[in-house]
């Protein structure tokens, strides 16, 4: 069964303190791995799609990478406005192409 596990569950960083969030997955054929950001009281906001191992994507202070078993979201020199819950999801190639979400990492960046 397709599965996504995110770690850590919560992370507190000082402003400027770089770190990484992990998304481990098992899927029968990866169609895509997706990263989203969710602010309190809002819907998830799309950040990145990764399709194959070795792929990397960047946006401002965020960089997503992908291996055959996991993805990392690297946050470089974070700012307080980066505080949010970061969700990872995978879409497999079998069946109905449904998306499986992880439980997210709650990131708090302190000024």
């Amino acid at each position: 069964e397709d599965q996504v596990t995110q770690s850590p569950e919560a992370l507190r960083l000082q402003e400027g303190e770089s770190s990484s969030l992990n998304c481990s997955y098992t899927v029968s054929g990866l169609r895509g791995l997706f990263w989203y950001r969710q602010d309190p009281g809002k819907g998830p906001e799309f950040l990145f799609t990764l399709y194959s191992a070795g792929e990397e994507k960047e946006k401002e202070r965020l960089k997503a990478t992908l291996t055959k078993k996991e993805s990392f979201l690297h946050i470089t020199a974070p700012k307080p406005e980066d505080s949010a819950t970061y969700l990872c999801a995978v879409q497999g190639t079998s069946g109905t192409y449904k998306y499986i979400f992880g439980t997210g990492t709650r990131l708090k960046v302190l000024a």
Partner: protein, 115 residues
């Protein structure tokens, strides 16, 4: 312009009542989804429609009935509401199942509270 909109934003109702949530997307996407997010923030898919056809129907009580009048709209009707139905319900859309660029765009959510 709001890409994916939902109404209402908040819904407070009593057990046993019937309620509906509406969703509209103006992105021209073919596929729409309903998700339930529980108190632990876990997003679980409930239903998905592709061009008005039901393609994903997860293990959801049959008190929940989706309806897609056209590919830009997906509504969720819930009969005989129970306390355990309290959650945030998100609508989302994407270009289509099995296509590239499968990122989803989410609505703002509807917080349902059953008392």
């Amino acid at each position: 312009d709001t890409a994916v909109s939902q109404t209402p934003k908040y819904l407070v109702t009593q057990m046993g009542n019937d309620k509906s949530i509406k969703c509209e997307q103006n992105l021209g996407h073919d596929t729409m989804y309903w998700y339930k997010q529980d108190s632990k923030k876990f997003l679980k898919i409930m239903f998905s429609y592709n061009n008005k056809e039901l393609i994903i129907n997860e293990t959801v009580p049959n008190r929940f009935s989706p309806k897609s009048p056209d590919k830009a709209h997906l509504n969720l009707h819930i009969n005989s509401l129970e306390l355990g139905d309290s959650a945030v319900y998100f609508c989302a859309s994407s270009q289509g199942p099995g296509t590239g660029d499968g990122e989803q765009y989410f609505g703002p959510g509807t917080r349902l509270t059953v008392t």
